[in-house]
Point group: D3
Chain length 281, copies 6
Amino acid sequence: MFSTEQLIKMALSEDVGTGDITTMSTVPPDSLSTATVTFKEAGVVAGLDIFALVFHILDPSLKVEFQRHDGDEVGPGTVAASVSGSSLPLLIGERVALNFLQHLSGIATLTRSYVRELPADCRAVIVDTRKTTPGWRSLEKYAVQVGGGKNHRMGLFDGVLIKDNHIKAVGSIARAVRQARQLAPHTLKIEVEVENLEDLHEACQAGADIVMLDNMEASLMKEAVEQTRRAFPGVLLEASGGIARERIAEVAATGVDFISVGALTHSAGAIDISMNIMQNE
Amino acid sequence: MFSTEQLIKMALSEDVGTGDITTMSTVPPDSLSTATVTFKEAGVVAGLDIFALVFHILDPSLKVEFQRHDGDEVGPGTVAASVSGSSLPLLIGERVALNFLQHLSGIATLTRSYVRELPADCRAVIVDTRKTTPGWRSLEKYAVQVGGGKNHRMGLFDGVLIKDNHIKAVGSIARAVRQARQLAPHTLKIEVEVENLEDLHEACQAGADIVMLDNMEASLMKEAVEQTRRAFPGVLLEASGGIARERIAEVAATGVDFISVGALTHSAGAIDISMNIMQNE
Amino acid sequence: MFSTEQLIKMALSEDVGTGDITTMSTVPPDSLSTATVTFKEAGVVAGLDIFALVFHILDPSLKVEFQRHDGDEVGPGTVAASVSGSSLPLLIGERVALNFLQHLSGIATLTRSYVRELPADCRAVIVDTRKTTPGWRSLEKYAVQVGGGKNHRMGLFDGVLIKDNHIKAVGSIARAVRQARQLAPHTLKIEVEVENLEDLHEACQAGADIVMLDNMEASLMKEAVEQTRRAFPGVLLEASGGIARERIAEVAATGVDFISVGALTHSAGAIDISMNIMQNE
Amino acid sequence: MFSTEQLIKMALSEDVGTGDITTMSTVPPDSLSTATVTFKEAGVVAGLDIFALVFHILDPSLKVEFQRHDGDEVGPGTVAASVSGSSLPLLIGERVALNFLQHLSGIATLTRSYVRELPADCRAVIVDTRKTTPGWRSLEKYAVQVGGGKNHRMGLFDGVLIKDNHIKAVGSIARAVRQARQLAPHTLKIEVEVENLEDLHEACQAGADIVMLDNMEASLMKEAVEQTRRAFPGVLLEASGGIARERIAEVAATGVDFISVGALTHSAGAIDISMNIMQNE
Amino acid sequence: MFSTEQLIKMALSEDVGTGDITTMSTVPPDSLSTATVTFKEAGVVAGLDIFALVFHILDPSLKVEFQRHDGDEVGPGTVAASVSGSSLPLLIGERVALNFLQHLSGIATLTRSYVRELPADCRAVIVDTRKTTPGWRSLEKYAVQVGGGKNHRMGLFDGVLIKDNHIKAVGSIARAVRQARQLAPHTLKIEVEVENLEDLHEACQAGADIVMLDNMEASLMKEAVEQTRRAFPGVLLEASGGIARERIAEVAATGVDFISVGALTHSAGAIDISMNIMQNE
Amino acid sequence: MFSTEQLIKMALSEDVGTGDITTMSTVPPDSLSTATVTFKEAGVVAGLDIFALVFHILDPSLKVEFQRHDGDEVGPGTVAASVSGSSLPLLIGERVALNFLQHLSGIATLTRSYVRELPADCRAVIVDTRKTTPGWRSLEKYAVQVGGGKNHRMGLFDGVLIKDNHIKAVGSIARAVRQARQLAPHTLKIEVEVENLEDLHEACQAGADIVMLDNMEASLMKEAVEQTRRAFPGVLLEASGGIARERIAEVAATGVDFISVGALTHSAGAIDISMNIMQNE
């Protein structure tokens, strides 16, 4: 709540600062313009509402219209939106609005390319991680959804994920799960990260709802899935650990429920998008 | 001022939220740990102070030490820093601190790779643009410096850059320059963006301090540089327009003063860095 | 993160405002005092850290010591903490610090009285609700824990609770559960609120992880528990709906897993606590 | 100024956080609803404007109408307000809006019950104290007014109240009053807290405008009133010190001007109020 | 509470912005300096604590020492304070710290010059008004105190001042006083602004605690004072209305209790103060 | 961006605080008024938009109309603006709105009086400094523009100004200029402060774009200008150092480009402006 607006205001503050001197000195206050937002390369559109909100915060009288919608795949040259109204705020907000749209569309586009690697009939879905750009957690996770991925927990507060260090701290997987179950609201599942079959078994035995198979070879992962489905059919399985796009199909074929990919949010390049601004006669 | 601290607090809020349930339920409050920060791939270190500040904000008693410094090129396996103190804040802040370090090191690393393309004796330097991640302007521009690049203006407030739309709005390059000169503090230079030699000439004539040569072929750019050096020796020239890394040497050879590259900040992937946390006996 | 500090600053601002005129005009700046914090009535201590934080924010040189700890049951006359240092901040912060401690101890005390009603061998635990004092969610839920209760979800973001209106909006319980499962991170369980056995059955069938039995008579609730344990042994059951303290034992006897009680946070009176301030010679 | 809006935003942030997953996954964005706000028990209505402001902040297009007004005494089943518009914000804001209304109506209801104890022809009015819920000072004092009480000073800044510790710090009541008079704006009265007739006399002599009679028996208080009316007719008298509702009539009969009651704000339970939401066809 | 720190942060943000380029590029990070703060003209020192706080916020390790204190009258060339420590924050904060000190010392100096005009044995004191620089209310009122003046109410919340428009709105002075008495906390006095003897009489009759004599000739004011002392000895009288320094003695001679002067805060020029910075060897 | 709104909110908070008791108790909520804003003395209007924004923030339904515009010179008795709408916010915001308008008009008026001293055909313009009221940088610099002056750099971030301490820190003017050129964005000019002809020469030689002639006699300044125009025709020259209004013509006659005057912003008195509020029948 309110964090998107806060980020937009930070972005406008850092870019506009004490004022857009160029525009203020050259563009008459009563000038009106219309701008079109064009994708210069193919991609998945994401962030149109944020794009519009930037202009709305600068000047609520600007009118933003969408020709495409979040989730649409568009080719180069596609006009995705248009903005019309007073030239001053339109020129002042152009760069910030595009920076949001380019970054989010970049994430949605990258996510879509991972999702496409999934075999048609597989159980697995692509999920994101907490490796997001600081300040952008909600927005980037939204872009992952737009791209066809699913969100893992939003942060440390809405999911329990017991890792190596936690287990060492309490002494055993069983005790870690028990203590987490006691403190965590009963609306949260307990996930345990494991690297071998012994720990997987111990985690399931301890009552884990989800087990993360970290950095496993596909063959070992397959074995893990089979054992778990037999002995603990209710347990969900997540593959994790720097899984490259080329490996998605192979990992999905092991039968896991989720494949988490940090790159979706920490290494997506921006999509090239430009605004064409025409002053009205 | 204060915006870095604000971004760190936003990042901690969005990740920790109402609490790190896993850590709170498994790690005893009096547990002490030491962690090492290891680069998993080669890169240029950037953001160690921010990394340390994240932990300082969480718990001022945590001790962060640097084994490497911003700007250092490191290979995979290099330990760049270590953190020691109470296990709770150390585990709670791990992800956020790494997210900052990974993103900034990614930008420094990418910048360094562009800088390396510059011929030894050329005049040109690599500069960044305003295509930065919203909320991150100052930090990302800092990482560009660390990588060996130079900063263009920080925003719309500390430089004048007259583009097509501004020129159309006032009627001519000459008038745009004159009006900007009148409004802008006399500490600011005036830059004009042009796409051909006629406009270049008009901009220099009008008294522009800098001219941006946008989207020009190398041959045209060379002609532009030569003409300008002859007729307007005091004018600085900047090459711009989606210049790929492969073209840097060619563009630098034209004799321009600056080559601006948006990709430095909008499309750098994260460097893979991890923290190894060991609880003290 | 940071919200407790924010609430304390709001509290100090609203009380101190432009300054404590009385204290500023009567107490010399170099005066030193020691104060003891005494429970005037029996209760469960909760909020000592917040109490100390109020003084720490006013003046980090004030020293706060605890004679009792959060969770302790104390009788009238018990000294729970002491504060020593400069008289000015001590007098200025007294009321705000006590207001926090009194409110949180009130909630812990009330919660403890509910927890005591649980039969020794029952499965049920007392949980709180979202009926908290606006601005106080985290603190009040902490006090419930201190009192021996367990927290339900912290808010709308870390748990799914499908109620009547949601079901009507999508058309059926089954569809509501399916859509929630699709959007929610896989770390979250799905809870459905029902008022009769038909809906209970449908919810379990649809894959609900938890079912809330709202406003049921004990006999019906007992029937609900029995049917569910037989047919859907993995499903958790929560009793809800204005359950008075007198009914806790009866409800617990039905075999439910959780009994949620809004009164814990919306209707706990303050515990009477006072500070005795003695100026040092 | 602005603090109410700040508290509402804190309340929405802590409840909605990263999003109401249940509602977002089940309710279509174009769904419209109408809701009625019903008192489930008798009480005094207080906080309708705040209730409406919560929804206005979430979505300014929601329409809130009042069927009752702040200060009205209503019986169980009374519809006090209605809200109509988009179902999403209506469902998302329901709990927060009710939490405000329930808490403030609880305070107004409790205050009214104290005010009712005052004899018809007495001089005394019921006033509140600074024992309010941190963050809620202005709102709770408003609810006291709605209930028929009067506000004491809002904080340490808009009134002088010299207590035991202040007197000890300067050496005498006379000196405390003199110094406070010197520093305080001349728009503020000086109040002195006393526990016996000697101090009362000294305070009046020193020029106190108001004297607080703390923890006195009714008989002693009566004596105090009589002596003061004779010798210092301009001095106002306030009774204080954990005065229970049953003692109000007796205390009022002593002739004091004000009876201050901390319980009004620190121990009022919430009034049970619910929202009935009906989706439009 | 906290507003001074907020103003300092705003001041540093607006001056330092994205960084002090000059200092960052010329001064080595390990350079140490000592600076002396010298009054270039005579004046009353005010604001040393704020001056020190600016540097403390920039770098808590900077050491500020005071050679003079707030309220001291100093001649040109007087060293009032010194700062030592790291050169970077010292140079970066210099201008902001001086801007605070110069402005507040200017107000204290002007106030002192008004206070000096008061006849030795008069009853009147000089008080300020609400005509302060927005954002600076508390600081400027503090400087007035330092200069020897007294504060009027801090704002609209800690005093009642009934003016012409309020009287017209309710119909009569008597009714205005009665309604204000009813709503205002009993710790506040009621002041009424009048322009003639009829209204003065009506205000006293209505129970006003203070009457402001606005824009009256000295002779009329004298008459007003005499009548009031006779008939309403408890009522305080305040002279107001653009009273120039030359008229202070004359107005004081009428016997009023307070003379309020807006110029103290809205028209005081800065005192010329400079910092001499010497880098340590 | 957003800092003006922030300052207005601070101003309203400090003045209105917990409420305008006088107005709330005397003016009916449905009362409507119209107010006229009258200059009581001659001056240059500045700040009408801020004036209007104060009322807009309090109540967007208030209607503000301008009879004069920023930059107009008006005589006593001129009505510059009018406000109409609900009496409550109109009365509550009156003082704050006027405080802004009075201060900014004071600066514009003082600036205009300096500008008038410039000989008709001179090259010089009057510029401001960083000696502004903390929190007011942008607003005060705007008022200088309105008065006919020009702005120097906004802060430490949008211009390089090398002073004595910077030169000492690096060892020489030449090195200071070189290092600043390296770090500063190429959109910024480099200014060097000098006190004699030797340093002036060295600065020009080092490539300074602007030289500030600090505290020079007019004759020396003339010599400095002549030498510079001959040898370094592209270098701009700025006169500085407590230049009184009486000296403006003399300094302008030396041929400098800029005359910077700190007094414009640190010592301008407020213009007397009042609001006449008439309640509608």
